[in-house]
Amino acid sequence: MAVCVAVIGKDNSPKYIKCVDETNALQFHYKVHTSIDIVEEKLNIGTKTVADNKELFLGMLYSTEEYKIFGYATNTKIKFIIVLQSSNATLRDNEVRMMFRKLHIAYANVVSDPFYIPGDQIKSRAFDSAVSEIMS
């Protein structure tokens, strides 16, 4: 389903990024990088207006002809980005939400590992398998 999954830290540094097609990785790195701006924008609006935007799921950040890019930001300012193929028209918002949910659970598990130092790059087999489940 997803073609690229990325985790971005508090300070906007990449913690984890994985693409289906590694030969085209750079292209996805650019896309993820671009999306950070939009995530920040959405988060700042959230602090000004009181109501609606209280969900962690940020919805679609932007779309190109080929891809749709979705974002999610945790309460601890960790951002998740998922890139999906635009041709995949059957994918509904709720399904994307579920993907982020899975990702967040996997991330919480990584952080709970006492040997993981918060802020480091994520190198975990369990997280890898959770991500590849999302991408399959």
Binding site: G46, T47, T76, V111, P114, P118
Partner: protein
């Protein structure tokens, strides 16, 4: 014991009481370990205990806030700490929260779980040992708040067992 039974009911899906004891025993042993290690120096060094709490708090908050909505502001975060956070750790809510709206919050717990079994209510026998039991929780608070983006210092205060106060002072940039 009565205390625990009440807890079991009030928390939906709570597991057996055994796991509550486990935390208390482990916590007790960690205190013993830290205190015995720092015996050489004249002053008791609880900073290691505080640091352990910090790293636990920093990690656990990711899990606890997973189902939560995004927090609006600092007060929202503190409210979460007083209710859900306290509930999942100590099976009760903070009894009283006071703030001066300028970054100082005082969390008042009338029956803090880790102090609840230290002697009779109002007993002063173990008053000077009680900071040992609070250092971990201070760190826990500081770590959780740090990960939520609130840099602060946390001080604990005990005047009469088993109640205690946590002073959270937010550091403004």
């Amino acid at each position: 014991m009565k205390h625990q039974f009440v807890d079991g009911k009030s928390v939906p899906g709570a597991k057996a009481e055994a796991d509550e004891c486990l935390f208390e025993y482990l916590h007790g042993e960690i205190i013993n370990y830290v205190v015995s290690k720092s015996k050489e120096s004249s002053e008791e060094d609880l900073s290691q205990l505080e640091w352990m709490g910090f790293s636990v708090g920093y990690r656990i908050i990711e899990r606890l806030t997973r189902e939560m909505q995004r927090f609006k502001d600092e007060l929202d975060i503190i409210k979460f700490i007083c209710t859900d956070f306290w509930n999942s750790l100590y099976h009760k809510q903070v009894d009283n929260l006071r703030t001066n709206h300028h970054g100082v919050y005082v969390l008042h717990d009338n029956e803090f779980r880790l102090l609840a079994k230290i002697g009779k209510a109002g007993s002063r026998q173990y008053l000077c040992e009680s900071p040992r039991l609070l250092a971990f929780t201070c760190g826990l608070l500081r770590g959780s708040l740090a990960n939520l983006g609130v840099a602060c210092t946390v001080k604990a205060e005990v005047t009469a067992l088993p109640s205690c106060k946590f002073n959270v002072e937010v550091q403004r940039m």
